[in-house]
């Protein structure tokens, strides 16, 4: 059956840990991880709840393929109502923590209430206890992980924790495991911190034994691994360059948002690209990239491990940053680089290290710095209040802002509020490049039209991981569509959204979807869980999950008015590249999308849609 069949409920107010059986009816209807935890959250939390109040809950959830031999089968998600957006938040992480939780015998952990003092949860197989974390509060992720292994005299403990950003209320704090794998977006780490929960340390030695049909499962996973190995993206591009394979490609097609979306091409793209990470540095003759790395069970291995130049100004006097650690992925390289006009690869790597070390989303952080730099260039923000001169392109300002933002010091306290609140405070709300309060990732929707609809309708605010139509519009996966056309994009976005919900609920990595379709996932899920998980059924479940999230947001107060883009993307045409003269044609796509979704004009689920999806 592959589900452990057991969840842990932790009441932080009372200090209690209670096991309960997994609701199997819901598991059949929502699979696991993203879908299933969202079902629990929607059933147990009032959508209007203040995200940072004790009444909000936060869930760590694995999928049925987590902890199995399915390729990339090590994922977990953190689900809560997000403080950055006020919408549903669901952030996904790899590394080894998810598999460890599953091997300890748990599908998910639901935290409710708020602890009166800092605590961490220690799980060793069936046993779970809340322990004092006063001695850990103030420590970074990089300090917390080894400290907990030492404390429990077990080098094999895996830790999911927050750093300073989550403690100091940065609204886009991340939850980090295995030093640099992160449930990064929407401030799930902020909610964790608001509950005085520092970390979850897990050791699982029970394993995963309840695969429905082991023989079938091994056959299906072996075949699926071959599909990944044989595909040019998952077999070659991602292992060699990571997601950074995209930097030059996206720049070339004129969809690389630059200097707070002022431009769509960055003259420094080549300096911060995946290719650049391979080039020997002039200073020490070594490349930025040390090696690639896999998460648990992953046969792609797109992860970057980098080492900063020891003579670089950011780390010259600080040997603690000289070791190899999590390097730049494309979204981080973009947000810390192109979004601010910074082309210094070592500075970006340093800012990325700081984000990992203290648990902060580099996308929202970098994009907010982009807005700050624009306001500085306009003369709205001054050096005196910022603590540094901050023109576009300043690597010094980027590094400085990273340091003060993770600690919530000085102007960092304002950057930590995200671009929506910051630009509004200084009278220029249009300069926040965000949807529903969450900053854009690395694709300009003037150059890739479908991404405009993707962002506008994403249930967790602007995000590329809810329907990555870049795959189709740029890479031709599964079929090539014209990135500058709006026709057909409503159906494309819907199809990607529904399929993505299945990948995110199964316990596997979305990056497999460069090579896999649901037809590759289905045999693995069916063999592990239930024969009833047919291709057709998965299609329905994906749509159900999407609508469940949407319904939560509607009840939280979001309407069709929130399914929009910043004025800049709708009115200021792209200045250069293939998309020159284009704005995003959201108005041409959105009504058709609502129609396909079965929503009324205000974006609410029609009764027949609710009935069809059994919501």
């Amino acid at each position: 059956m592959s589900w452990a069949g057991k969840i842990l409920r932790v009441n932080l107010t009372k200090g209690s840990c209670t096991p309960e059986p997994l609701n199997m009816e819901w598991a059949r209807a929502y699979i696991g991880q993203r879908g299933l935890a969202t079902k629990y959250l929607c059933a147990e939390v009032d959508a209007k709840v203040d995200p940072l109040s004790p009444a909000n809950k936060i869930i760590w959830a694995t999928g049925p393929l987590t902890g199995t031999m399915a390729s990339t089968g090590g994922r977990y998600s953190v689900i809560t109502k997000g403080p950055l957006t006020g919408a549903i938040a669901c952030s996904n992480s790899g590394g080894y923590w998810g598999a460890e939780l599953k091997m300890a015998g748990w599908d998910m952990i639901i935290f409710e209430g708020k602890s009166p003092k800092p605590v961490y949860l220690y799980v060793e197989n069936d046993s779970a206890q809340l322990l004092d974390a006063g001695w850990l509060w103030g420590k970074s992720v990089w300090e917390t992980e080894p400290a907990l292994r030492t404390k429990h005299q077990d080098p094999q403990v895996r830790v999911s924790s927050i750093g300073r950003a989550g403690e100091t209320g940065c609204l886009y704090a991340a939850v980090v495991n295995d030093l640099h794998r992160a449930a990064g977006r929407s401030g799930v780490g902020t909610v964790m911190g608001s509950k005085n929960l520092k970390a979850i340390a897990v050791r699982g030695t029970k394993g995963v034994s309840n695969i429905r049909d082991f023989k079938e499962f091994m056959k299906a996973t072996t075949a699926a691994k071959k599909v990944l190995a044989d595909h040019p993206v998952t077999g070659q591009g991602l292992p060699k360059y990571g997601t950074q394979v995209l930097m030059n490609v996206i720049n070339e097609i004129g969809a690389l948002p630059t200097r707070n979306h002022h431009d769509v091409q960055f003259e420094g793209a080549k300096n911060i690209s995946g290719e650049a990470m391979h080039e020997p540095r002039k200073t020490d003759g070594k490349p930025n990239l040390v090696t690639n790395q896999a998460c648990f069970g992953c046969t792609i291995a797109c992860g970057r491990v980098s080492k900063i130049d020891e003579t670089h100004f950011t780390v010259k006097t600080r040997p603690e940053y000289w070791g190899a650690s999590g390097g730049l992925e494309y979204e981080a390289a973009w947000a810390l680089g192109a979004a601010n006009g910074v082309n210094d690869l070592e500075a970006l790597t340093y800012a990325n290290f700081v984000c990992n070390e203290q648990g902060m989303d580099p996308i929202s952080f970098g994009a907010t710095v982009g807005a700050v730099m624009e306001l500085y260039e306009m003369g709205v923000l001054k050096k005196e209040q910022l603590g540094i001169e901050a023109p576009f392109g300043s690597a010094q300002a980027l590094a400085y802002f990273a340091e003060v933002t993770v600690k919530g010091e000085g102007f960092g306290k304002e950057i930590a509020q995200g671009s929506k609140r910051l630009t509004a405070k200084y009278g220029h709300p249009d300069l926040s490049m965000s949807v529903k309060g969450q900053e854009f990732p690395a694709y300009d929707s003037r150059g890739i039209q479908g991404m405009g609809l993707t962002y506008a309708t994403s249930n967790r605010g602007a995000c590329h991981l809810r329907s990555y139509t870049v795959a189709s519009e740029v890479l031709g996966i599964p079929v090539k569509t014209d990135p500058l056309a709006t026709e057909g994009k409503a159906a494309l976005v819907k199809a990607f959204q529904d399929a993505t919900a299945i990948f995110d609920s199964a316990g596997i990595c979305l990056f497999t979807s460069f090579a896999w379709t649901l037809a590759d996932v289905q045999p693995q899920l069916a063999a592990a869980c239930l024969p009833e998980f047919t291709l057709e059924e998965l299609g329905v479940i994906g749509e159900r999950i999407w609508n469940l999230e949407r319904d939560f947001n509607n009840r939280a107060g979001f309407t069709n008015k929130d399914d929009t883009l910043p004025k800049r993307l709708l009115t200021e045409p792209a200045k250069t590249g293939p998309a020159k003269g284009k704005v995003n044609g959201l108005d041409k796509m959105l009504p058709e999308y609502y129609e396909l979704r079965g929503w009324d004009k205000t974006g609410q689920l029609k009764p027949e849609t609710r009935a069809r999806l059994k919501l």
Binding site: M69, M103, Q156, G207, S209, V290, N292, Q293, A324
Partner: protein, 157 residues
């Protein structure tokens, strides 16, 4: 031909498919804690290193065992633990200089790599060929070839 596991840590990504395959092959379950091969993460050096029994010829574990529960598989050369004989005294775990024999609390016996009877599941599962199963007399062949290519690979004039 006798074969042995050849591990090239340069190619290891740390995916742990080898550990999962080992536990599945030997216990029919996915359980890292039951794996006889372990991947070590030397994080700040950016290295992942798979490590398991080298099947010593004069095996310390075998000599140390007071009940002769560890015997050589004539076909593979593997030193194999016979669970029915093993009394769980753990002396072999002390004798092994490399730490590759370990006690399993759930069975009360020790376990170590037995080369899966000649078709090691770890090598089969490794997606990057960091773990291969090669001619025991020629584990250096690939490395020799690489150096030969470096030092003397110019086309003939």
């Amino acid at each position: 031909m006798q074969k042995s596991l050849l591990i090239n840590s340069d190619k290891c990504t740390g995916c742990l498919q080898c550990e999962m395959a080992c536990s599945y092959e030997n216990y029919g379950t996915f359980n890292l804690s039951l794996s006889r091969i372990k991947v070590f993460d030397f994080h700040s050096a950016g290295r992942k290193v798979p490590y398991t029994c080298t099947q010593c010829d004069e095996a310390w574990c075998m000599h140390a065992c007071p009940v002769d529960a560890i015997k050589t598989d004539a076909a593979t050369g593997a030193k194999v633990v016979f669970e029915n004989t093993c009394v769980g005294c753990k002396v072999c775990t002390i004798a092994c200089p490399f730490g590759t024999v370990n006690y399993v609390a759930s069975t009360g016996k020790v376990q170590k790599c037995d080369l899966c009877g000649g078709d090691p599941a770890c090598a089969l599962a490794c997606p990057t060929a960091a773990i291969t199963y090669v001619d025991a007399g020629w584990t250096g062949l690939e490395r020799m070839k690489q150096w030969a290519a470096k030092t003397d690979n110019q086309p003939r004039a």
